[in-house]
């Protein structure tokens, strides 16, 4: 038996191809939406991978340093480093801000990394694509390629200027903002140090406060003002574990003795995926549902219209003894073929368009496979309306009168 659907498609291939392209662009958007979600998850995982940490020590009862603000004293790392099972502990700061270069600025995550041996101290960029790591204690920066900065560029971060000495790749925040690595002391300043006017006004307020400016206590005012202009805080301490030690046991010891909150890698993944991007994921999920419904409606309408165009032929086919299942199969095969054409166009367009999106779009094969299956199911369901109509066609319609 010949394929009636195949012959019909070949006969009206232009109609099918153009309809398939239209549907394909819609499916391409759907695939990109799924890719945006995957990209967000991957950005989160990249953030954790790039930190190089096994444990994150943060302010007690917070979800820091990525999902909530966290502030702990910058001397805590020494005590943590001395605990059993800890290989290395290093302070880290994270600050999302606009990093300026001349008249342009780029949304970035500024990461303050503690000094030490590269590769041993967590938090440093693990590899460079060009240039070198920071070697000075101040005013040097390593930036992600996505910032668009080049080696030798001069950046402005708050009050200070920095020279780009190295470039790295896929070092991004959970929001996809590219990272700018600077020395920890500079980052602490950038986070807390205010401009000159604010400092001056703050000093005046402190001076006017009788609690801090007591005539009988010389030196108190100077001490208070000195404490206000320095920043002894960081956002977290990154910890690596010695081989053979259980991260859970080390984390429990830190929690118990340092009275801080400690997250392991799985816990941090749960925070990033389950909490930080959960709302965005639900938003994307809603879009995917809407796009699926729109796709189904379009396919149903197209197949219904194509079937309506063939009512007389269907009546003739039924009159001359064609089985209902043969007619139903013809309509369903056309619907599936339309879905396949649409998916191919969508996959190709999504693949070519993904690099041009400002945020990372990760198209993974399993999503494409699931997407293809969903498209086939949608097309099969969408064809049911047309099949029902075709089966109701009276073969007597082929006979006039």
């Amino acid at each position: 038996m010949i394929s009636l659907a195949g012959r019909d498609i070949l006969h009206g291939w232009g109609k099918f191809v153009f309809t398939g392209v239209g549907l394909g662009l819609l499916l391409g958007v759907t695939l990109v939406m799924a890719g945006v979600y995957r990209g967000m998850v991957d950005d989160g995982m990249a953030l954790l991978d790039n930190s190089g940490a096994d444990l994150w020590v943060v302010q007690r009862d917070t979800l820091g340093p990525y999902a909530e603000s966290s502030s702990i004293n910058d001397d805590l790392y020494r005590g943590i480093r001395a605990m059993p099972g800890v290989a290395e502990a290093a302070n880290i700061t994270y600050l999302t801000m606009q990093v300026r270069k001349g008249q342009q600025d780029v949304r970035s995550m500024v990461v303050g990394v503690a000094s030490g041996q590269v590769g041993a101290v967590p938090g440093w960029p693990t590899y460079l694509t060009a240039g070198r790591q920071m070697t000075r204690g101040h005013y040097e920066a390593v930036v992600d390629l996505a910032t668009g900065f080049k080696i030798g560029d001069q950046l402005d971060i708050r009050r200070n200027g920095y020279t780009v000495v190295g470039l790295t790749r896929r070092m991004v925040s959970s929001s996809g903002d590219p990272m700018v690595f600077i020395p920890l002391k500079d980052a602490q300043e950038a986070q807390f140090l205010k401009d000159n006017d604010a400092i001056w006004q703050n000093r005046r307020r402190t001076e006017a406060n009788p609690a801090f400016n007591r005539p009988g206590v010389p030196g108190l005012l100077n001490a208070v003002q000195a404490s206000q202009s320095s920043n002894p805080y960081v956002n977290a301490v990154l910890v690596t574990i010695k081989n053979g030690h259980d991260p859970a046991e080390v984390a429990e010891a830190i929690r118990r003795w340092k009275r801080l909150t400690v997250y392991s890698r799985p816990q941090m993944e749960e925070i990033l995926v389950g909490k930080l991007i959960a709302t965005s994921a639900r938003q994307i999920g809603m879009f995917l549902v809407i796009l699926a419904l729109v796709s189904a409606t379009i396919v149903a309408f197209i197949i219904y219209t194509l079937t309506m165009d063939k009512i007389r032929e269907i009546a003739v086919l039924k009159l001359i003894g064609t089985r209902n299942r043969t007619i139903a199969a013809m309509i369903m095969q056309q619907s599936l073929a339309l879905g396949t054409i649409g998916f191919a166009v969508g996959k190709i367009s999504a693949t070519f368009a993904a690099p041009y999106f400002p945020k990372y779009v990760l198209l993974v094969p399993i999503d494409s496979l699931i997407g293809f299956m969903v498209v086939l199911v949608i097309c099969a369901l969408a064809s049911l309306v047309a099949i029902r109509m075709a089966l109701q066609v009276d073969p007597a319609e082929a006979i006039g009168g």
């Binding site: 010949i2 009636l4 001359i320 003894g321 006979i399 006039g400 009168g401």
Partner: protein, 236 residues
Amino acid sequence: MAGTGIRIEGLRKRYGSGDTAVDALQGVELQVAPGEVIGLVGPSGSGKSTLLKCLGAVIDPTAGRIVLGDEVIYDNGWQVRDLRALRRDRIGFVFQAPYLIPFLDVTDNVALLPMLAGVPNQEARKRARELLAALEVEHRAKAMPAQLSGGEQQRVAIARGLINRPPVVLADEPTAPLDSQRALGVIRILNDMAQQYQTAVIVVTHDEKIIPTFKRIYNIRDGITHEEEGEGRAVL
């Protein structure tokens, strides 16, 4: 089954019920011998199409008897279980418009019926080409229906109606869209094919050009058939 005819006895068809009931057929009597072509004529609303639909097993008669060859297929109820197979294998249809399947070429339009009956594609196409050759349209075997003239399309439609060698062919105004020459050509073909395949052919028509060609005519009025002698004019 080729070589058998069709006999209709007291066929009735009532649409609706009660006060609104309409008796479209009121005891039709009709018989067509194998190899014979008869005309079925009558004004609009006389019951021609209803009779054709009953004979084509697409609507159920209300009462009566239909004998196809030696087999009673309807006797106050269908006697065959699979009406679809009955239409496919034992009744040929030729319509007012050819109604060829636009996405199949000429050969496959004709070969589709045996294919539906389970005949292998190659065999079905071979039979189709033989029939197309007999109808002198073999040279258009690969053409699509839209590329054919009206006469060619009607000949292909006749080939489709005859491909399964049915004992009866129902032709519904097969010459309506054609000029005199082509109309007479179609009747000649139907006569030739009826003779060749010993098929009974019932031609429903209004066409004054072809009515004189029938040897026997059934005139249907108010759902009752009246047999008349035709001129039986030869078609050259």
